[in-house]
């Protein structure tokens, strides 16, 4: 008997007839995992965008003043990742050269068809938010720069140097408006990614209305963690002070979103276990079999319970600022890992169940495939290169642009 059958028969002793059907038969077309690591990266990247955007929105729309030091940076961070959001998708498509078909003939019935438009709108909104937020800075920089850089600055300030109170008041209104529509767009961009999975009724772990909610909250978790970690690292690297108040606010926001995300993740597993629907034996076998390590050990125990404890310590105990900031960086790093493991468990884990409801396939990542490990590394490093490029034009930190 192979391990899965042993597992199945073991489980059947304890919980009865529902697991009796597992005999490790995989439909012949199900042996291959069609959505692999690129489709793990795609929701991860849009999630980072979403979370970073939330931080910016809290400052620009809700005037959470303590977030001022990172507000501009998180916008640029969001832009750097958003500009790479389509990259994993293009690498995944069988015929990437036909990607414009999504825009030309979007099927009204398909959840996926809206992606092109939602992406285009969120890109446009984000770019203009950044341009208006940075306008006073850019106008100043235009004066001191020369050559092609000056041309860039002239273009992105709409060739206007008007910083009069009237113009600034107008900018303020525009920013509020753009961020106002940006929040629902960001929520749609990512909640909708969750719905792409949630809308697949053929897959018992995906088809739950909780999926968009889980994706949205975990997106916020990953994005906020990324901003915290990047802020601390970049400031340390540059030898500049870290704003403690800002970190505290971000960690508090992170705590809130992580509690929500983790609760919903567990709620989904709990309802599967409690409802024991027709395909429950497959989900249970998946989480305790092929995903036992990546789900229970890594996603839940190491990357969720430990950060929860740390966040509890940070929230309830009085810590020195330096210790608090160090813990913030550690928690953020673990949570960044948590979210990508969660994406892996949903996307790839979900596909390990054959639709025969009788067995599980295996996934072996390859190194040099177009969706392989190397491609993952390349795709994930491009946003950082873009971020560096953006930093040449848009100074990250408020109040320090005049060197």
């Amino acid at each position: 008997m192979n391990p899965i059958m042993m597992l199945a028969s073991k489980a059947s002793e304890s919980i009865g007839a529902s697991t009796m059907l597992v005999s490790n038969y995989v439909f012949p077309n199900d042996l291959h995992v069609h959505w692999s690591m690129m489709i793990v990266l795609y929701p991860y990247i849009t999630g980072l965008v979403d979370g970073a955007f939330i931080i910016a929105a809290l400052y620009y729309l809700f005037r959470v003043e303590s977030l001022k030091p990172v507000a501009r940076f998180s916008l640029l961070f969001a832009l750097a990742f958003l500009s790479c959001a389509t990259l994993p998708l293009l690498l995944h498509l069988g015929r990437p050269e036909r990607n414009f078909n999504m825009l030309l003939t979007p099927s009204p019935s398909s959840a996926m068809a809206g992606f092109g438009y939602i992406f285009a709108v969120s890109m446009g909104v984000l770019v203009f938010i950044i341009l208006f937020v940075y306008r006073p800075v850019l106008v100043e920089l235009r004066k001191t720069s020369k050559g092609p850089l000056q041309f860039i600055y002239r273009t992105i300030t709409f060739d206007s140097t008007d910083l009069s109170p009237a113009a600034m008041a107008l900018d303020e209104k525009i920013i509020k408006f753009l961020v106002g529509i940006g929040i629902p767009i960001a929520a749609v961009l990512h909640g909708y990614v969750g719905f792409i999975f949630g809308g697949v009724k053929a897959n018992p772990t995906w088809s739950t209305p909780l999926m968009p909610v889980i994706f949205l909250f975990s997106a916020c978790v990953s994005g906020i963690s990324a901003v915290i970690l990047a802020y601390i690292l970049i400031r340390r690297f540059k030898g500049r002070p870290v704003d403690h108040g800002c970190i505290v606010t971000m960690v508090k926001t992170l705590t809130l979103f992580f509690i929500l995300a983790f609760s919903f993740e567990m709620l989904e597993v709990f309802s599967h276990t409690y409802l024991k629907t027709g395909y429950h034996h497959m989900v249970e076998g998946l989480l305790n079999g092929p995903l036992a390590a990546s789900f229970w050990l890594w996603q839940v125990k190491i990357c969720s319970v430990i950060p929860l404890l740390l966040l509890g310590v940070m929230g309830l105990m009085k810590l020195k600022a330096s210790v608090y900031n160090l813990l913030a960086a550690v928690v953020s790093a673990i949570l960044l890992l948590q979210v990508i493991i969660m994406r892996w468990n949903v996307v790839i884990g979900g596909q390990l169940m054959s639709k025969s409801a009788r067995g599980y396939t295996e996934f072996h990542p390859e190194w040099f495939d177009k969706e392989g490990i190397l491609a993952v590394i390349v795709v994930m490093s491009i946003p950082f290169i873009i971020l560096w490029g953006l930093s040449r034009i848009f100074p990250f930190w408020a109040g320090e642009n005049k060197t």
Binding site: H32, L104, V200, S356
Partner: protein, 274 residues
């Protein structure tokens, strides 16, 4: 839930309007007889396969007024795999991908069900399973192919309209528009779709649409030695499928709970068949 398509009259009217407007000049031949024209270029007169589905050749094919059914009789399947072989050869299906396959079910007295389909049944079933410890209660073969769902999840999720249900009820793939995103592969509860490794677009069983439109049976039906696979037009009152569907026998569909309303029926399928 929409199961019945809008009344054919309505569709015909809007269709005619479009023809008159000249918007589908290129598709005119859809309604006019395809007859054996498509075959004449390929087969010499004496080798021309005879018409197997009456009422298709030399008749106007009204695409809006057709209904076909496919019935798999599990009690007659002997697991020879002729259908799998014919299918692979008709389409040159690449190894490791299957438009159709045959599963072997073995059910023990403990109610445990053992299923296998080595190489999709292409090599037939030469030997009994040796890994079953208990006494066997029931054993049978189950051929699988596209269910041609009336509420097809693959059609619903295709973002670019590259998979569609044709007006005559076939779920087909437009290989010139498919982007190869594989969303339909995820959505299909029966796993009949695969990404073609050469064309890099999705491929699936079409019930041999190109043969049906020329009055021929699907390749798998034609080669089945025991007529476990039956195909025919519901417009033909003499066809075997019409008689079976009209009769009192029990027919089932796969994964009824998915709400896909398949046009593929199974006769003699036990409840364990998924």
């Amino acid at each position: 839930m929409k199961i019945q398509p809008p009344s054919p009259d309505m569709k015909k009217r809007s269709f005619l309007k479009k023809v008159l407007n000249g918007t589908i000049a290129g598709s005119l031949y859809l309604v006019f007889p395809m007859g054996s024209d498509g075959l004449e270029g390929q087969f010499p007169k004496n080798q021309m396969p005879p018409e197997q589905i009456p009422g298709i050749r030399d008749h106007a094919y009204d695409i809006l007024d057709q209904e076909f059914a496919f019935i798999v009789d599990i009690t007659r399947c002997i697991g020879c795999g002729s259908c799998c072989v014919a299918d692979k050869r008709e389409y040159n299906v690449p190894d490791g991908n299957y438009r159709t396959w045959v599963e072997r079910y073995v059910k023990g007295f403990s109610d445990q069900v053992y299923v296998d389909a080595p190489n999709g049944g292409l090599d037939g079933y030469q030997n009994p399973r040796s890994d079953i410890q208990e006494e066997v209660r029931d054993t049978f073969f189950v051929p699988k192919l596209c269910n041609m769902c009336r509420e097809a999840p693959c059609v619903q999720v295709c973002p670019v309209g590259a998979t569609f249900t044709s007006p005559d009820g076939f779920v087909l793939v437009d290989d010139k528009r498919c982007v190869g995103c594989a969303y339909c592969i995820q959505a299909c509860p029966y796993s009949v779709r695969y990404l073609h490794p050469v064309s890099r677009v999705v491929d699936k069983c079409t019930w041999c649409y190109h043969r049906v439109r020329k009055g021929l049976l699907p390749a798998c039906v034609d080669v089945c030695p025991t007529s476990a696979r039956k195909f025919g037009s519901m417009k033909d009152k003499e066809s075997e499928v019409y008689k079976i569907l009209k009769g009192p026998g029990v027919l089932t569909v796969l994964k009824k709970e998915m709400g896909t309303w398949p046009a593929l029926y199974y006769k003699g399928a036990r409840r364990e068949v998924v």
